[in-house]
Each structure stands twice: as structure tokens, then as C-alpha cells.
Amino acid sequence: MKTVSGLRPPTLAMIGLLAMTTGVIAQQEIVSHPLELSFPELDFQPPDGAALRHELSTGTVAYVAEDHALPLVNIAILIRSGEYTAPAMLKPGVASLAGSQMRAGGAASLSSSELDEELDFLAAQIRTGIGSTRGSANMNCLAKDLDRCLDRFFEILRQPRYDQERIDLAKSQQLQRMEQRNDDTGGIERREWSRLLYGDAHFSTHATTEAELDAITRQDLLAFHAYAVHPGNFIFAISGDVQTEEILGKIEARLSDWPGAEAPGDVPKPGVEPQPGLYLVHKEDVNQGRVSIGHLSTVISNPDRFALQIMNNILGGGGFTSRILSRVRSDEGLAYSAGSAFGLGTHYDGSFRAFFQSRSAAVARATSIVIDEIGRIRTEKVSDEELANAKASFIDTFSRNFASAEQIAGLFANLELQGRDIGLVSTYRDDMAAVTADDVLRVAQEYLHPDRLVILAVGNVDDMLAGDLDNPEFSLEAMASGGSVTRIALPDPMTMEYAGR
């Protein structure tokens, strides 16, 4: 931990001493409302990322945050790779399997079960994975076992064995998860929402089929590993009970004869515009509808991001103090969970999504409330109190991003991976504080599009369309942009073929 001084409010500390000696403090007057309390300044400055940043002789970047409170070492490697990278040999599903099987499938000198036994005996935790646009490898071990664990960690990274029986096991487990694709309405909602926003052709929405999974061979995994996992794609985040120079030396020694290879290409952008309208997915035996309402958003490098985050916080991102939850849940008791997210994409536009889950009959009414709120934040300026609360929820909680050495190293490494400036953390609070109610109105008008809403409702469609007899004025179909209503039949979970297409 970086230490921060000046936290202790002197007056209260004196009161504390008094209490210890005389015990009279309990009679001290208590203010009648919490807003009358006054607080000392919080003197928090985020750590200087540049001071933690090191470049190894191999060119690889490593952030190191020392913390000697516990005898633990944590090493995270961010890997610039993912399902998106498309060299000629890459079949769908290979990247993800190659990522998880790096750790699960054994390493050069040890079979998968020998490796498992050794790591479990050392109580060392090593995890590897490759997702859609990034990969990661993490190691957490006792400081006393550091050298032995590092050897194993790098052996896994560099010479994964990809034992065939583990590949078969992983495939059978994945098949089982595939079978369950239509079981849970939450999973259906997530899948259909990305398809509606990014289209079937985009890598991010591709769901591996049984045939594709069957076709993946051990050779495919080895080939992908050689292509994607090399020091040229690594960023290190190291924290815990280490001496910076010493650990960098240990890493460098293990990287020095491992050349970096070709860097991955750009992440492909989706090629379609989402079509507004109402989309319905029928699931017979549930009594609750899950609803997503929204459209594409923008990217994280957009200078309007501060105003956008505050706008969304007031609209639906700020929990109980936000408008959507307050109206849908607190006022009307229509849902347990409701809100909105304004996702900022790293490589392409993220998604703006307002959401709730409500009993089927109330879906139309809750949808109408959410659409009203999306309209209202575009036409009326937010109140000073809302603006102040939203800002505080970002500014006053900022220090929590640096609550541990692991978080600190990880945060900077992540900015580096995204190609962003690590100096952003020093201006973040000022940038948030500078947002005005006019800015919020402007970005709401510019980035929220009530005429382009995609409305997705998953649940018992008959009940959702029938609505609520006590409130017959709400009709889900009437809210569809341009009157377009589409029913999406559940796909075969193994082939992902949609009937009626």
C-alpha cells in the first residue's frame, strides 16, 4: 500500500482521548441531520503510474507495486490476443480452449494431473484464459515458493502440453454448457442482445457450435498458442511481497531467450446497424420477463465520456438514487432489479442498455416508464442535487480503485493494454468535477436515441403481451419503434440454427 498521511482529523482524535480517560464523550451533542456533519479533507493522491512502470530489456512492460504486509506474490499477465485474432488456422472456439487448456493441460515436464498435484501441494494458484479481445495468465503464491512457482508458471505459458484427455474433458464440459444455452432467461437475454446490436457475423456474437467444437484438434491449440502467446503480447502487473529490481530480474531471465512474434491485427468492428423495434423471445415456464432496451453507445476514448458516465449514473446507473430504479422499483414495486448501463467500448462502440426484470403482466408498464425516463433526461436539465450526487459517487469513491497493490498494478497495466494514457488517473477527478448540467443534457441529446431503441423481452410472450388488467393502457407492441415486432425462436443450442430464417 502507498501510505497516505493527514487522514486523522485532529479535533476528533482529541475527543477520542478524552473518552478514554473520562468517558464523558457520550453526552456530546449529535447533530440532527447527517448533512450537518462536517468532515476533514481527504488527502488522497493516486499513485504515480510512471514510477511503477518498467520496461524490460526485451521491450516488455511491467508494473510493480510492492506490498510487504503479507508473504504473498501476485503476477498477472495481460495478453494482447483473443477470439478476434484471425490467422488462417483459427477456427471458432480455438482461442478460448487454447487459453484455458494452457493451465489445465499440463506443461512440458509434467502431465496435467502431475501439474495439478504439484500446484495444489504448493497451494499456488495459476489461472489462464483467453477471451474475446484479451487473454490473461495469473499466478498467486507464497513468497517462500516464488522461484519454484515462477518456473512452473513460465513452463505453462511457454510449453503447454495440451494433454488430449483434458481437451476431451473440456469439450464434454463445454457441450454440457451448450445444452443449457436455452435454460436460463438471463443467458438468452445476453446472447440475443449482442446479436441484435452487433449482428451474427461479428466475432463477438459467435456461439461455438457442437460441430465446430468437435473439429478442434490438439494441433489447432498448439498452433494458436505459438501465434498468440509470446512476450511481444504481454504486459505484466506484479504486486505483493517482492523487491522490484529482484522480481524484474527473475522475469527478464525467463523471457530473455523467448522472442516475441507477430503482433495481432486490429479488432474487427461490427459491420451492421442495429434495427430498432420490439423483439420477443418466448420461454413458456417463467413468470418473469427480462427486458433490455437500448442501442449502440460510443468508445472509451470519447472526450464526452465523463459527462456520459454522469448522465447514465443519474438515469439508471447509480442504483437507488438513479431515476429508473427509483421509479420502477421504489415507486411502483414493479421490479427488484432495474437500471441502465452506458458501456464504453475499447475497440468499437459499446452498448447503452436499460434493463429490468418484472412479473410478466407488468413488463409493458415498466417498459413504458423506462422509455419515459430516457426521453426525460434528453429534455429536462438534471437537478443540482442529482448532479452533485452523481459526481460524488465517482469522485469520492475514486480512492477505492487503489485499495490494494494488486489493484494498483492491474489498473495501470490495463490502461496500457487499452492504449490509454496512464496519466489519466491524476486528472480524473477534475474532469468529473467539471461536468455541468448543460453537458449532461447535451450528451443525453447526442447519445441517447429514443427513435432507435431496440427492445428485447425474454419470458412468457403471451403473458407479457396480454399486460396487466388493472392498467390496460400499456401495450408492449405499441412501444416498438416503427411498429416493428419480431419473434425470435430459440435456436437449437448445439447448432445455433434459428428456425424460420
Partner: protein
């Protein structure tokens, strides 16, 4: 989302070990019986803060199940000061609402009677209501409307949020209810103000609409999840007389009937300071914190009545219980043995035994998943609650295998534990992991806060230091002994879940097909049902392609494959008919 029903897995992470990084909080006991635990961490810009009330659904009784959880929701609704612009007017409306609700309840009782004897189907249907009933509901709504003008919405959250509080949440479990938040280090006094105020002067406004929110939570967590209702039934099957038999969220009929008065009564006994422990972990001065605790929490009077221990013990199970259910889920088995409560002398051995069975190098995974290839996942462990406990093992069958095969293989592993001592290295592996966990658990302030509070909810915070050495002391003989003591068929309940087949009457052609095959046929049927006449050409092509694949279909699936072809041909004929 907020106000969760606690997930018990949390407790399993607490399993400590022996290299023993002892946690030594400063312990301060207030005159009113409240315990305050302080772990200052110099320089931390944040404070994780929370308190636990040693009350959960186990302290309820039939008729008020779900009250502990509903109560947790009410604790966010404000106080005499927070959440209203006019406390006196607000109180008048609340009393009026209670009166109306009591009147409405009489009408509901009559409708419930009619439903009970079969005169009506659903007492909630508007058409069954009398005019007087309907009038009362309208009067109730207009009173609610009046109250809305007096309420400051979610004021409690708003004040914390505006001051940089984050992660505010609460959870209700069988044995305890816990409330927590993170505040910036300079806002310590705000936390004391807010928390002492809601313990001293709570006002349960919006009680009846919050009941509806809890209904939605129940739908979300239980009714709408694939195995939610079956899991609930398994719990009720396993526990005979124990109050652990009902769900934390409560039975639906109780949720409809709960009154504000019952919640208040529950509060008076169970949320008295003598039943509460608070803790702080982070950047604060302990002397200052003690002074603030004295000033703010010290003013709350001790409860007039001490909370009573749970009276009803589980009766001894007389024979094995079995339950079969169908759901949209992979075929699986749950095996649960009656066992020991938290703190029992046999608990450490049972905890270690659970670790020996679970995880990637655990016996169950190695045997059932890797060697025999009959399961895709399997794990188990000891679960000691405050008043009783159990040992549970769950396994999911691999495609082509049945939950019954998984069940027998699990018994074989338990049998091995009964007859052969565990090898030293295997036992040492588990102990090494427990020792490392002693450090890992201290990595986050918030994590430590929860461990301290939850330990207080059971037997006291000291157990987070004493459990580790006990786990290290477990011997191979201990393991063998507890395996022989607790894993007896008459002490267990078994649930088997099959994938549901759909409710249609069975086609005789399905005879001879296994679960997976039936499921595939079902899927084909559903897709075919949705096909429209304009897709006929496509379907004919599909039929031709599928027929051509026949040679690649394994022998054991040929019967299913032929049936699939038949179904496609039938549907094509049907659609051709429609087209003409």
C-alpha cells in the same frame, strides 16, 4: 443487486489454516451489550464498515417466514429524520395504511377460504373481489399517494452516495443478517450517524410496496431459475422439524400476509444492541472510533427481552429420503447427510474431508470425471450452520450417463474413506492450502470485515483464529472416524434432477430412446412446429442433406436419427397440405 439473500459459498472461503497470521482486532464492548471490533490499517484511504444482527430465517416461525429478509429491506427505508419531509404526517399515513391493510386482510381471508374449498381458482383475481373490498383497495391506494408526497425517495442511499459511500448492501441468511458499506476514510462519523439512527429510530414506510419487491426477488431467484423450486423443495424435504426447512425469502403465502406490526415486534427483540456486533477495517484512528461508538451506538437502549435460542431441534431421521424432479437442467444428483453444527468437535475433520473430495485434485473429480468419465462436475463439503449442519455432495452426469451412476460412484468414494486411511501427502496438500488461505483471506479489508462479522454471527470473531489450528490438527484417523459416523444411508436425503421432457403425451416412437436423445427429438419437434409454408423448399433440402448423413450417425443413435427423418417428412407433408 442489492439486498441479497446471502450465498453460503462465502463462508467456505473463511476456512483458515495454521501458519496463523492472527487477526487481533481491538474489541470494545458497549454498556448496552453491543460489541465493536476495530482493525485499523494506517494510511488506507477507505474504511469498510458493517454490523451483523444475530438473527435470520431460523428465528422465524410458520406464518412469518420471510420476515427477517423483508426486514432487511425495510432497514433502508429511512428513519424519523431520513426519508421524509414531515415525520408526524408520515406516521399518521402509515397508521392509516395499517388499519386499511387489516380491513383488506379480512376480505382476503374470505377469498382464501373460497379458494381453499375450491369455489374460486385464484384469490388474487380482481373479479372475485366484493365492492367493499375494492373500495378499501382504492382507499389504500389514495393513502399511498398521499404518503408519496411526504417521502424523500431512497434518502438513506442518497445521503451515503452523495458522501462517497460505495458498495452499500446487506444480506440475510438462515442464521444472520449483515449490513455493510465502504466509506472514504474522512467520513467515519457519517457511518456512525447513519447506522445508529436506523437502529434507534427506524420507520418502516413503504412496507407494503416493499413486500411486492420481495415477491419479485422471489420470482427472480426461485421461481424463474431452472432448479430454484426444486432446490427449495429439497431443503424442505431434508429438514423435518428444524426451522431451516423454509426458505430465507419466505413462503409466498406468508409474504402476502406479513404485517408491519409483526416486523416491528421482530425488530424490537432481534435488532437490540445486545444482539448486534459492529466492525470497522481500514484507515481510521481506533481511539476516535471508540469515542464515536460510545457516542452514537452507546445511546441505543438494551433490548427489553433477550433473544431466545432456537428451540426446535431436528428430529433424528429414520430412513433415507429420495426426491425426483424434472427441470430445464443437466441431469444431476444431490446427496446430503445430516451432520454437525458450526463449532462441533467433528467439524474440522468434516471440513478437511470435504476438501479431500473436492477441487481439481480432489478424489471425486479424479475418479468420476477423469477416470470413469461419468460426470462433468462433482464436489462436496461440510456446511455447519449455527444450530445444525449437513454434509452435501453434488454431481452432474456426463452426456450418456445417468445421475444414478454418479450417485453410486460417489458412495464408492465415501466407502473408501471409511475403510482406508488417507495417505499423508494427500492430507498435507489440503493443510498447505489451508495455511496459504490464512494469508489470502487478509488481502482485502472488505473481505476481512465480512469474515469478522459472520464469525460473530456464529460463535464469535475469535473463531477466525482458532479454526485454522484445528484444521491443521486433523489426522487420517479422524477422517476415517467421521466418515464412518456420518455417512449412513438412513441419515441422508437424495435429490435427482432429470432434464424435463415437456408436457406433451409421449410418442410411442420415443420408447427406447435415452434422455439426451429424447431431448434432441423434442428440439427438432419445436423447430418443426415453427416452420412456415414458405420454408418448404429449405426443408426439403434439409431432409435430403440429413438423409445423406445417415452413415455417419453412430449405431446407438440410429433409432433416434430415423425418427428425426420421419418427423421432418411428416411436417413437410403437413405444410404441403396447408399450402394447397
Amino acid at each position: 443487486m442489492r439486498r441479497i439473500v446471502m450465498i453460503l459459498a462465502l463462508l467456505l472461503c473463511v476456512a483458515p489454516g495454521a501458519l496463523a497470521q492472527q487477526v487481533k482486532p481491538i474489541v470494545h464492548l458497549l454498556d448496552n451489550g453491543m460489541t465493536v471490533l476495530l482493525v485499523p490499517r494506517t494510511g488506507d484511504p477507505n474504511i469498510s464498515a458493517g454490523w451483523i444482527a444475530k438473527v435470520g430465517s431460523v428465528n422465524e416461525h410458520p406464518g412469518i417466514t420471510g420476515v427477517a429478509h423483508l426486514f432487511e429491506h425495510m432497514m433502508f427505508k429511512g428513519t424519523e429524520t431520513i426519508g421524509t419531509i414531515d415525520a408526524a404526517a408520515d406516521r399518521r399515513v402509515i397508521e392509516q395504511l395499517d388499519r386499511l391493510r387489516a380491513e383488506i386482510r379480512k376480505h382476503e381471508q374470505e377469498l382464501l377460504r373460497q379458494q381453499r374449498v375450491g369455489e374460486i381458482d385464484d384469490w388474487r383475481d380482481r373479479e372475485h373481489r366484493s365492492q367493499a373490498h375494492q373500495d378499501l383497495l382504492e382507499e389504500f391506494d389514495s393513502a399511498l399517494g398521499e404518503q408519496r408526497g411526504l417521502i424523500i425517495k431512497d434518502d438513506f442511499d442518497r445521503i451515503y452516495t452523495g458522501e462517497g459511500g460505495s458498495g452499500m448492501n446487506a444480506g440475510t441468511d438462515y442464521d444472520f443478517t449483515v449490513y455493510f458499506i465502504n466509506v472514504p476514510a474522512n467520513k467515519l462519523e457519517l457511518w456512525f450517524w447513519m447506522e445508529s439512527d436506523r437502529l434507534m429510530n427506524p420507520v418502516f414506510r413503504e412496507f407494503y410496496s416493499e413486500r411486492d419487491v420481495v415477491h419479485e426477488e422471489r420470482r427472480l431467484r426461485t421461481d424463474s431459475t431452472p432448479t430454484g423450486l426444486l432446490d427449495e423443495q429439497f431443503e424442505a424435504t431434508f429438514w423435518e422439524s428444524s426451522p431451516y426447512s423454509w426458505p430465507v425469502v419466505g413462503w409466498p403465502s406468508d409474504l402476502y400476509g406479513l404485517t408491519r406490526e409483526e416486523a416491528l415486534e421482530f425488530f424490537d427483540v432481534n435488532y437490540a444492541p445486545n444482539n448486534i456486533s459492529a466492525a470497522l477495517v481500514g484507515g481510521f484512528d481506533p481511539e476516535e472510533a471508540i469515542a464515536l461508538a460510545e457516542r452514537y451506538f452507546g445511546r441505543i437502549p438494551r433490548g427489553e427481552r433477550e433473544p431466545e435460542p432456537v428451540r426446535t431441534w431436528e428430529v433424528k431421521q429414520q430412513g433415507e429420503k429420495r426426491m425426483i424432479g424434472y427441470a430445464d437442467t443437466s441431469p444431476q444428483v444431490r446427496i446430503r447427510y445430516h451432520g454437525v453444527a458450526d463449532g462441533h468437535v467433528d467439524e474440522p475433520a468434516l471440513l478437511v474431508l470435504g476438501q479431500l473430495l473436492s477441487g481439481r485434485t480432489g478424489r471425486l473429480f479424479k475418479s468420476l470425471v477423469e477416470e470413469q468419465g461419468i460426470a462433468t462436475s462433482v464436489s462436496g463439503g461440510q456446511n455447519g450452520r449455527r444450530w445444525d449442519g449437513y454434509f452435501e455432495i453434488q454431481g452432474t452426469a456426463k452426456q450418456g450417463h445417468t445421475p444414478e451412476e454418479v450417485e453410486s460412484a460417489i458412495y464408492a468414494e465415501l466407502e473408501r474413506l471409511k475403510t482406508e486411511p488417507v495417505p499423508d501427502r494427500e492430507l498435507q496438500k489440503v493443510k498447505n492450502q489451508n495455511a496459504a488461505a490464512e494469508f489470502r483471506r487478509l488481502q482485502s479489508s472488505f473481505g476481512l470485515l465480512l469474515q469478522l462479522l459472520i464469525a460473530e454471527g456464529y460463535r464469535g470473531w475469535e473463531t477466525i483464529n482458532t479454526t485454522g489450528p484445528k484444521l491443521q490438527a486433523v489426522s487420517a484417523e479422524d477422517i476415517q472416524r467421521v466418515a464412518n459416523t456420518y455417512f449412513e444411508p438412513e441419515a441422508r436425503a437424495v435429490a435427482i434432477y432429470y432434464r424435463s421432457q415437456g408436457s406433451e403425451p409421449e410418442d410411442p416412437r420415443l420408447a427406447g430412446l435415452d434422455d439426451q436423445e429424447r431431448q434432441q427429438i423434442n428440439m427438432v419437434r419445436q423447430q418443426l412446429a415453427q416452420a412456415a409454408p414458405d420454408q418448404l423448399d429449405q426443408m426439403r433440402q434439409q431432409l435430403a442433406q440429413t438423409t445423406a448423413m445417415a452413415a455417419q450417425v453412430p449405431e446407438e443413435n440410429q433409432d433416434m436419427f430415423q425418427l428425426m427423418l420421419e418427423l421432418i417428412s411428416e411436417r413437410i407433408e403437413e405444410l404441403e397440405g396447408e399450402q394447397e
